[in-house]
């Protein structure tokens, strides 16, 4: 089956071999008001995750059975002590939502980084050397694409055991294809450029050439894909936790909170709604940032 990668078919935007002016990207990003808002949300989220024990008013796992399923503070029966209410075991929702951001961000960043490293390496080798290496690797990518990644993650985590490490590993190993395709197509067009030919003529080795001359030139599209992949990985982790197959039960995750909260939807909407909002805001903010990055890196797409 021949699959044309959506991203691979994009024409490589011409960029200066040195990487161009670096300050242009942040400045263009800041002109996009929505992106600024998204970045602010992300900054807040990052702060919440880093300083969770300081920010959270309670221990996220402290149970209080006398305070089960209390509504948020502004509703009848709510207390100031639990601003967003409590869950079925009397645990503080706000503290759990804050602590839940840790797993989400860790898995998102870890999986995107791992997939990025694998995909970039594959793409560089595939695009630079071509020939049988390229054919083998791209065939491997086709096979990888045919696996529904959630299903693969489900099977791996369900069978090898739950744990943060496994989740990051499996999401990293299932997410490399889009990186590889983009890097490959960029490298294939860069390979024929003068600066590569000249570097090879003066005896630069393949490894150095890839690292020093090709890699810097694919960083812009990599940043875009990486950003979008963080959101995808966060949603995937939440999906696994929702199915009860992600990280162990003691770890606070938005997915498992949603799964628990759904059971009490009839009486206590807050138990599912707050982790859901947190998850959606995070994924939305990252996607907006990724879209804005792409618009900056590829102005042609922006105009359309």
């Amino acid at each position: 089956m021949t699959v044309t990668s959506p991203a691979a078919a994009r024409p490589a935007p011409a960029r200066a071999p040195s990487g161009g002016s670096r300050s242009a990207v942040p400045r263009a990003l800041l002109r996009n008001k929505l992106a600024v808002l998204a970045l602010a949300v992300l900054a807040l989220l990052l702060a919440a995750a880093l300083f969770a024990p300081l920010v959270a008013p309670h221990d996220p796992n402290a149970q209080n059975l006398l305070m089960r399923l209390r509504p948020p503070a502004w509703q009848d029966g709510g207390t100031r002590a639990h601003l967003l209410g409590t869950d079925q075991l009397g645990r503080d929702m706000l503290s759990r939502v804050v602590h839940g951001s840790r797993v989400s961000l860790l898995v998102g960043a870890g999986a995107a980084l791992l997939a990025g490293v694998i995909g970039t390496a594959v793409g560089l080798v595939s695009g630079y050397f071509g020939g049988w290496a390229d054919r083998t690797l791209m065939r491997l990518a086709d096979v990888q694409l045919a696996f529904p990644s959630l299903l693969l993650a489900l099977a791996v985590v369900g069978f090898l055991g739950s744990g943060l490490g496994y989740v990051i590993l499996v999401l990293g190993f299932t997410g490399w294809v889009s990186y590889a395709r983009v890097v490959r197509s960029e490298v294939m067009s860069l390979r024929t450029r003068d600066f590569v030919t000249e570097a090879r003529a003066i005896g630069v080795t393949d490894i150095t050439l890839m690292r020093r001359h090709l890699l810097p030139n694919v960083m812009a599209p990599l940043a875009t894909i990486g950003t979008l992949h963080v959101a995808a990985a966060i949603v995937a982790e939440a999906s696994l936790s929702y199915l009860g197959l992600g990280v162990p039960k003691e770890t606070v995750t938005w997915g498992s909170m949603l799964s628990d909260g759904q059971l009490y939807l009839g009486t206590s909407w807050w138990a599912a709604v707050f982790p859901g909002i947190a998850l959606m805001l995070t994924s939305l903010a990252i996607n907006i940032t990724g879209d804005a990055l792409r618009d900056v890196a590829d102005p042609k797409a922006y105009r359309r």
């Binding site: 045919a146 369900g158 995808a232």
Partner: protein
């Protein structure tokens, strides 16, 4: 799972055979079939060994105080005491005959269980697909025709929301609004039209977003081409130009990407079925994984991979219907 679909859809032209002789076309089809079979063989192999890397299903099936003798009797009766290679070859040999072995938990042929659950999943997927076409195509056309204006931004904001919202969260919100608060629709159950509405909408949200977004950018590309300009010059109205001359060309890249998105849709189906306790293959898969029901897991994984492969074969074949240049090259 992935939101990595870029704005600009790919051109599927390089997958289309352009040779005049039929042997060329036949060779392409055979090559594609070969790849499909390779994918399925890999899937079967990986899932076979993956499930066996994990714990012992005998330990789960028996109570913790079972004796070693009881364990070995059960292991022998399930065929798990044979050498791994024998089990693997047995399994591969059964596949062409659609014999997936017996479920460890249900004690019945896996194929039978799968066949029971299939109609629910097909019903859900068909309803979601219909919804996707009914909503995404008008939305994409509308946004493309009003590009850059307020209504375009509204559609694109909806698209961004749809792509960022995981299906189980959509499902929970829908249950909250339509089942808990307004009592308009049931939150779970299977069998009537009312049961189908919320799960179908839940599953469709993501694909509506993907298709609308791609169709919009693909149409914008097509609308700037020469044949559209001459259609306009002939005095056709804007809607007629889009429907008669634009949509067909714009649908080609959309179909390609939709084929690739099937993997995400299948993942979405697993989650949607779980949210609504829908008695389909997705639920079956999650149950099988939690129960370590080896044969059932292998069969469901293979089922999903086969669906992906078949849909993408159909996508490849559909080019010749959508693009007359491919058809005439036969």
């Amino acid at each position: 799972m992935s939101d990595l679909t870029p704005d600009k859809p790919p051109a599927p032209a390089d997958t289309a055979p352009r040779r005049r002789d039929t042997t060329g076309l036949l060779r392409t089809v055979l090559k594609r079939l070969g790849t499909a079979l390779l994918v399925l063989l890999c899937t079967a192999t990986v899932s076979f060994f993956l499930v066996r890397l994990s714990g012992d299903p005998v330990k789960i099936l028996l109570p913790p105080d079972a004796t070693a003798r009881q364990e070995s009797v059960l292991r022998a009766s399930l065929g798990l005491d044979r050498p791994l290679v024998t089990q693997y070859l047995d399994y591969l040999w059964g596949l062409p005959r659609l014999d997936f072995g017996n479920s460890l938990v249900h004690g019945r042929p896996v194929g039978e269980i799968l066949a029971e659950r299939l109609p629910a999943t097909v019903e859900l997927a068909a309803a979601a697909l219909l919804l996707t076409l009914l909503v995404a195509v008008p939305a994409g056309v509308f946004a493309a025709m009003r590009r850059g204006r307020g209504s375009d931004h509204t559609v694109m904001t909806g698209v961004l929301l749809g792509q960022s919202t995981p299906p189980f969260w959509v499902g929970i919100l829908l249950i909250l609004v339509f089942a808990v608060w307004t009592h308009a629709l049931p939150a779970s159950g299977y069998g009537t039209w009312a049961n189908l509405v919320l799960p179908a909408v839940t599953l469709a949200v993501y694909s509506v977003a993907v298709v609308a977004r791609l169709l919009r950018s693909s149409l914008i590309d097509v609308l700037s081409s020469d044949h559209i300009r001459s259609a306009r010059a002939k005095g056709f109205g804007p809607l007629k130009v889009v429907l008669r001359h634009g949509l067909r060309n714009a649908s080609l890249p959309v179909v390609t990407v939709v084929g690739l998105e099937v993997g995400n849709l299948l993942g979405g189906a697993i989650l949607t079925e779980r949210v609504f306790s829908w008695p389909g293959v997705g639920q079956l898969t999650v149950e099988a994984v939690s129960n370590r029901d080896f044969p059932l897991v292998q069969a469901t994984v293979l089922f999903f991979a086969a669906t992906f492969v078949v849909v993408n074969l159909l996508v490849d074949l559909s080019y010749s219907f959508l693009d007359p240049r491919v058809r005439t090259s036969r």
